[in-house]
Symmetry: C5
Subunit: 152 residues, 5 copies
């Protein structure tokens, strides 16, 4: 199994390192670094088609301005299209700079979200029902889980 | 006939259980659990193309923030594309966390909307005019129907 | 010539009836009823590809909330894609619930817009210049025409 | 060389006439009139594929409301897709009704923008560097040019 | 290796000149000038498919109004689609007129962003890990880099 990691020079945290640290050694890794999040979709597509990855983790850190949200939206739509053209999952790990207030919190957020989505990627590679025990359980990446609501 | 159910670990309610409870035993079910709503479109596509489902129910619970609405929009556009690429219906059942005020109401909303759309899925499998008697009658899922307005 | 009519159970007015009443008996009609506007695009595509329609009238009534506008946008983009994939026109007749204030006005708006777009559909079936005499004349559907502005 | 002109009955100005007046007699013209701007993309596609046009000028006049901007956005995305599917240019000439305050100004704006984009269409037909002498020179259509900013 | 440069007459700065000045003489250059940013996507596609470019730099300067942001969004989505259809990178260099306050600052911003993205284009042509040493280092184009955040 081969895992692709697409990341950016724009991000202020080396998110790829956080991901790579959590991938067991029996997986191959291909990395592709681009300038910004809008360069990620075609990089992901090439990781699938040229480098034969089975799943891709796309790492980005959109800025805090309104135009940055628009860029993130465009990148996300591109990532949607790549998944549908290749029938493969891309775990999109975007950390918005305005989600937290300090650089320290931003680092922790980026690290936690990246690590949890790396586990999600590994789970998805193991089959479509690997995550089913956790369905509807209010899982979060970057923050604490919020829990399941039941009938009771 | 085979019904696909795609759901998420992000949701706080096990919506898939609500759907499965309403599907008669003569239908086969394939379930696919992903982390969040943006992972649903490719899961739906694989439910059609790899698992031969005839229709898919896509279950998700977007958060209350502006960025969550954007994610829901991206997921919905992906779901549109999957339907057009496969010529099959996907019943998108999204419950926005800010639609109601309490956890109890959120559970009821999610359950009701999921169940009603499960009936819609069964109806669509029975042909393009199965729902025609209810056309223009103000049907709602999650809330009460609002009724038909006539000339009189 | 065969005209497809796609409509919803969500709408509060039986818009399809308004359309069918204005279609001359020498046209065949295929109807496809879905739950909501986001289910319309794939229904339209099937009306073209499976039921051999030459044109489709897509009827919907989006709600008044911000999220309803987003749904209408997603449906409209799907309808754009279907037209480009099939090279055929879809007359999109969407009546937004917040366009008028009373149920009576909503009914009249839905009826008028549907009827006028039914005439547009018939005109488009007759060739690309059938509507040319009315080009730039400020035609409206649902409300009164606003008229042409000339140099004088 | 054949130039396609797609226009609408919704517009309050006969923009097509403004375009046709500026096209030299050695060009063939195909016209396609549709109800509104969201009907333009498939009309443009047919002008390329069925009527063999080499370039298309798409003329529309979106209304002043928020929902009109959304419609214009949907039409524009459709026009983007048509260009990418056909590898041909579509000059999109949209005049928003709220760009100016009087009917007289609206007419002049529509006329000026249409004429200038007609010249752009003729230039693009002459090769990819025909407009290069004007690159970065602050050209505007509908309003006066704003000029080039240089290092000095 | 051949680099495509797509630019506009709408921009107030000759951004293409800034790019060309930074491309070493051993690269071939193809230039394509269009009226506005919404004409860029199909120009980029033709630079790849008709003129055999290996990468394209798309240069544009959206205006300051809300409708200009919408146009930029449409252009960006087109540029996303072109990259996915061709499996090649497009460096999108958009300078929004409201990013800075004076003409002088606008010129410097356009020049700096164009030059830095030209270096990015050259780096991407050299392989998917050429930029990896700078991953997560807070690089900016047009403004100063903001730096990497680490665990410490």
């Amino acid at each position: 199994m081969k895992i692709g990691i697409a990341d950016t020079t724009f991000s202020r945290v080396d998110m790829a390192k956080c991901a790579i640290n959590k991938i067991p050694p029996n997986y191959k890794i291909e990395r592709y670094t681009v300038p910004g999040i809008k360069d990620l979709p075609v990089a992901c597509k090439k990781l699938f088609e040229k480098y034969n990855c089975d799943i891709v983790i796309a790492l980005g850190m959109p800025g805090p301005m309104s135009i940055d949200k628009q860029c993130a939206h465009e990148a996300s739509l591109g990532i949607q299209m790549v998944q549908l053209l290749t029938n493969k999952h891309i775990l999109e790990v975007f950390v918005h700079m305005d989600e937290v207030k300090t650089e320290k919190a931003l680092y922790q957020l980026a690290k936690n979200r990246t690590e949890k989505h790396t586990f999600n990627a590994l789970a998805l590679l193991n089959g479509k029902e690997t995550l089913t025990p956790y369905a509807g359980s209010g899982r979060r990446q970057g923050f604490d889980d919020v829990g399941r609501i039941t009938d009771g």
